[in-house]
Symmetry: D2
Subunit: 451 residues, 4 copies
């Protein structure tokens, strides 16, 4: 049995005795199982595989223990994957990621009772918790330069698209912009990779490559090699909130349902009247050859949420330099706005996010079938529902809980207003056809039926 003990780093190296006890009390909890899985995912970082069962299969004898010391708490890895080690020593970045997972999942998970009824539920408390988690992860310090751009997009994109995301990242890097993505390969890795070269050329040594993940997806999309700050939010809703409050602008690359979910989320927020004054640079971009993707998405948004929603973003095709320039100009407007309002630079407190976007949507066959998929509601309300629909499909595709349900009870059934269902079906079909649902090499078996 191969055992490795890790000394705590960062916040985890300064725990009180009571905090250490509380951590240890979790050892048999459901939370701890989640923690263990996330650690295994992190230890596999760099391995290209989005099927968590395949990924985890060789490590059935992997285990993890918290070891109490007067000095704090150590983590003991038992039979960890070799890929994370260099000549017997854990790669430092992975070491840090492991303690980020401990911090976010166990420590903060305890503090906020992630898995319990007592978890924060009202609007203000949820936002405070998101803030507190980002603060604990040191993500706010150093976020004062209004230069954090979130890049969303698929983990499964073709080589042309991947190269394009690198070029956009390079142009952003040349302009000293930091990158935040959802962790993982594809459009989550390319912009970071490009930015490192841009940063290096500009001798910008504070380059941040922030990955914000969640427990249920980290196995499918472990942090890539470049992520130097890992944050694990408890669920997709808080993760999305972290993205939009931490960042100063968003770029969306081609992707699948996950990307569609993200776009609907930010559109739903920006369409809120209370956010009407907020400048928020939002760019959809891809290389020549990916035009249809954006046409499909744009048409879908136009048909479902209307022209007002379409005005919230700008589509730029095949021009990385232009993307970077438009973003830079947009960030300047963000600066002016925040200065004028006296708003914080490092966390967007004043952006209004409605309850419906904050509360976890748990996809089941029941909740999925009951989604109010029709136009008898405001566009903002429809955005909420559409996001939930896509969120459920993501779960059915790659999240353990979702996959389990599909296995047991067959695909989710989505139904509603005929014309709307038609549009949804068309969009999803295009994702399947473009291989955006899963990493290439695996035939995609839809986890949903549109009726």
């Amino acid at each position: 049995m191969n055992k490795v003990q890790l000394n705590p780093v960062g916040w985890m190296s300064q725990l009180s005795q009571i905090e250490v006890s509380q951590l240890q009390d979790t050892a048999n909890s459901q939370l701890f199982q989640m923690f263990k899985n996330c650690c295994l995912a992190v230890l596999n970082s760099g391995v290209d595989e989005d099927n968590f069962e395949v990924l985890f299969a060789p490590y059935h004898d992997f285990d993890i223990r918290l070891v109490r010391r007067e000095r704090g708490v150590k983590i003991e890895l038992i039979n960890p994957p070799e890929v994370a080690f260099v000549d017997g020593e854990l790669i430092k970045g992975v070491h840090e990621h492991i303690f980020s997972v401990l911090r976010d999942l166990l420590f903060m998970g305890n503090k906020y009772a992630f898995l319990h009824q007592s978890a924060p539920a009202d609007n203000e408390s949820i936002t405070d918790m998101v803030f507190d988690m980002l603060r604990h992860s040191n993500a706010l310090e150093g976020n004062d330069n209004l230069n954090t751009v979130v890049c969303w997009g698929g983990h499964s994109i073709n080589q042309t698209e991947y190269k394009y995301t690198k070029e956009v990242g390079y142009q952003l890097g040349l302009r000293k912009i930091n990158i935040c993505t959802g962790c993982g390969p594809g459009a989550m890795k390319g912009p970071m990779k490009g930015a490192t070269i841009g940063h290096a050329k500009q001798r910008y040594h504070e380059g941040r490559y922030i990955g914000i993940s969640e427990p249920s997806i980290i196995a499918a999309e472990p942090p890539n090699a470049i992520v130097n700050e890992l944050i694990v939010m408890p669920d997709i809703e808080k993760r999305l909130e972290a993205f939009v409050r931490l960042s100063h602008g968003i770029i969306i690359f081609p992707g699948g349902v996950g990307t569609a979910e993200e776009l609907l989320y930010i559109l739903g927020i920006l369409m809120n009247d209370k956010n009407a004054q907020q400048p928020f640079p939002l760019i959809l971009t891809g290389p020549a050859g990916s035009e249809q993707y954006f046409e499909a998405i744009d048409a879908f948004v136009g048909a479902t949420l209307g022209k007002e929603a379409q005005e919230k973003y700008q589509i730029i095709v095949d021009d990385p330099q232009d993307v970077a320039r438009v973003m830079t100009a947009g960030l300047e407007k963000v600066r002016e706005f925040r200065v004028a309002m006296g708003d914080a630079f490092s966390f967007n407190w004043s952006l209004k996010i409605e309850d419906a976007f904050q509360h976890p949507f748990i996809p089941t066959h029941e909740t999925m079938s009951q989604l109010a998929l029709h136009h008898d509601q405001s566009p903002a309300e429809l955005a909420v529902v559409l996001r939930q629909a896509f969120s459920g499909i993501v779960a059915g595709n790659v999240k353990a809980e979702g996959i389990k349900q599909i296995k047991e009870r067959g695909p989710f059934v989505l139904s509603g207003e005929q014309s709307l269902m038609q549009r949804i079906d068309t969009l999803l079909e295009s994702f399947v056809a473009q291989h955006r649902m899963k990493l290439p090499g695996t035939a995609y078996e839809p986890c949903y039926v549109v009726k």
Copy 2:
């Protein structure tokens, strides 16, 4: 009306909206009044005056407000003392101290309900809170080198003694030892001043000059010019616990009742059987000419707590270099012990401090008169009672609440076993005779009667 707004620094620059609200809710509380007084004391730092009424008199129109901003919370000073400003700008060190007071008194005060029944009361919780406060003040980071030495001693000492404390500080500084004292002039300032020169000569740039104070005494002993980390603990008991758990060794210079209280506190702890294995360098030292002081103290300890207590410390007269060498050797033993035990370097978790030393003793005419001043108890128990007696006299001398009581009801009355009372009286007499009770220039009016 002169107004100055201060931007938050340190931890206070990253507060959540809820935390800011809570801070503002304190605006009319008793805690806030305490906060205001501490700020005024800090703004007067460097002024030599231990009578807080005299000190505060010119500033009756001083006020302070918390101003809420999206970015966090600003402090607005109204009619602040000019001495803290350079060409209209607040001195940066004072600026930091103000926010240290905000952090420790209001923010942590709220968190731990300092002034309420709900404040932590059990042994473990109190220690955790002391840890949490030191952690929040960043005092633990950088405390890993086992080179923090607490210097105790009087604020009112003569020039020879003051010079001597500087020389000891210089020798400590040459050995890259950091200094922690109780804030204020005299033996709290000299070692820091000497250490800065020693540190400079050794090109030691991480020099720490930590001042640990408490609300009720900070006015009489405001942080001197050199203190670069200010921590305000809620009461003398937590302050003493912070001293002994944060530091790696203690040096005691000549002083008055406060110093005697401190000596009794550490002796009481070190005499605890559970701490028998703990190496803890403890040196009593002063210049030639101050021998009688130590003879008196040593005799008192011998007569009251016994020979075992005397063995816990070493007396060194007029040899700064020897003090530094003995301390250095002692710190090495501390290192060996902590390594062997796997104990933390930055916080002495394993030192046992009994409840009786942790719970606040509130000196009143009643509690003072009821002190069990006799030998029908273990030396450790007697140490507890003696510390309380001296603590009460300190309050009667310089703390607002104590002074008020003495004004209203006359001196505290101490009574008990005859021989013991004799010894106490002798010791106190010697302090008065040596002008150790108050800053020189003021005639000392005893706040106690020994019967």
Copy 3:
């Protein structure tokens, strides 16, 4: 006319008035023309083109001027290539490279009279000058960790080989090894690129990517995007000396004549009896599929320099991790040796380099035809001559002066002992067949005839 003025950085920002005058005096010199060309090459960095005429063609109206200021000297670029600018501002890395060229070519060029009879010529003076140039470029500071590895290899390698150099670089980076190459694409870029990822994963922030070039080749192989320290040595001999004295180990990837020249150079030195005790890790490596390359080289070395020469290196095929481990072990031996000898860590003073390796070989039709290509000399002497032969072919391939001669007078003629000529011919043929002479896409016209 587009003009851009650049403020001096690094050493060039602190010149005396006399030094500035001397720099300005060069304005019409041959040295200045060289300086101008190097700057143009640096401004084109990242452009893939090894034909300097094609590269420079669009910039016939490019010019450069030194502008004297009380504060020092500014550089004025006239009509510079746009590729070096981001939104009108010169990329910082390029800015630094421009001043590195000014420092090495003009300032040091003046100091050591590069182009004159008075240039240092004796053994000791040449080494001192190499040292002085590395010292001025700040390459010695930070070179104390015995972790600088030189990577040699072709600028024109295939994708498999390029990926392999990246993987080796990645494994070196994981072990906190810094990379030094000759600037340019291919095997000069891959290891740096890989190392950046390895360094990032290990949170190693001091990553050095040193490029050592020379004026006559910088146009064909401008510093790639990752080079963060550029040094321009006056000629190939001093450049090679800089490589071996600065580095602590060498890895050789597949390449063409240039790479062969480099291998012969280091072998010639290591075969010197005076260097017999020096541990010097030297690894030849490439991916599966490149075995023939190493077989050819190894056979050539065996046949010309003998078995002793072959023992100086280790060939590792297709195992990046093993390369990194063997190198790490080798560096440890270097450490032991230098400690034992009291040798400097940052500059290998004690390595003996014979005059014949230090003095510039100027390839002309005459010098090339007179090379003593036969076995009637010691292996070390033969190594000198072989290196010169290959050096001449490199010049004929990519250096302006060489190309000009070939254009005017036809190919260089190499002749000598029959069996040796055979071997040379075979080796060169294999380079041509493997497209290692020039970047792909251009048909290679040999600049030599072997008789």
Copy 4:
């Protein structure tokens, strides 16, 4: 025999083999003897004694050797004074000072042939050499903030004056001004000491305390404990030039002939028409009680150099805050001027210093007796001669060479125009009466006769 070997630091840790050889060649030179004496002085730093014979007496068996290593050059101290060591280890600041002396005296001394006919002699070369020495000592880097103020004044001043220099230093420090003095106690130490407190309060961590000395005086005025940058210029003329070109303003405290020499030097320069536009803050200041000193000096300047000279400075009595404010305002003008002219911030190239101020004046009985002490010349010319006269008296007072001459041949004789001689005599008498010639406790025996 007690031996200690010191590793090289700073520039001296990166010497070429040839440079090391050259250093070693000095081992028996006159320069080396000077070096040895300076080292002994540095090792005695902190000892209050301005009679070098008394100072050196206990160390007749002190010696020093340069030890060649492949890595560079080590210094071996034989029987060094114990005062410089802490528990057997040399204090780091002293260690650095020793290598500063090696750098300035031996290394630069070699480079510029200090003691030979070939030493730089023309105006431009001398300035370049001063620049080069400051550059090598890293004094120019970090001198870009226009906040370096030179403080001149006596080493032998009374307690009131000493305290005053500390208070001025404190006020300067609060305004983030760095201090440069001539090394030694009194007015050379006070401002530094005060500034450290001011810097500490403002959390200004880049505080520079630059001491510029010369070989012939460093024994009498060794660098005090606070000096963190030591520079040793070869003679008083180059030292004075270093002061005025490095600094951005000058404050003059009470002092003796040395201080008078310095005042005459700067006045002579500022009266030069070519410097008419140069803003140069120059303040004479002292505490209440020292007014007569300034009255005497001011009267002397008025009578000898005229009203124009008096307008170059401002006298401020007993107001440290005002001194700091006037200086701050003056520095702002310096900034405006340098920006407008495009002048360097770190070195005042454009200040014109005439040959007569640059060339060493060697005081002998002959040169002293031949000084043209009369009014038949321009005020600027007279300033030159007066400076030389005072310079000679300083030599006779504290410099070894001067003392030796006086011992052998009696006092220097100064003669000239009757009224002028009268004024000189009066001024010197006042210095004697105020004990400004030598440290107190020693009766002053004049080294001059005024006829």
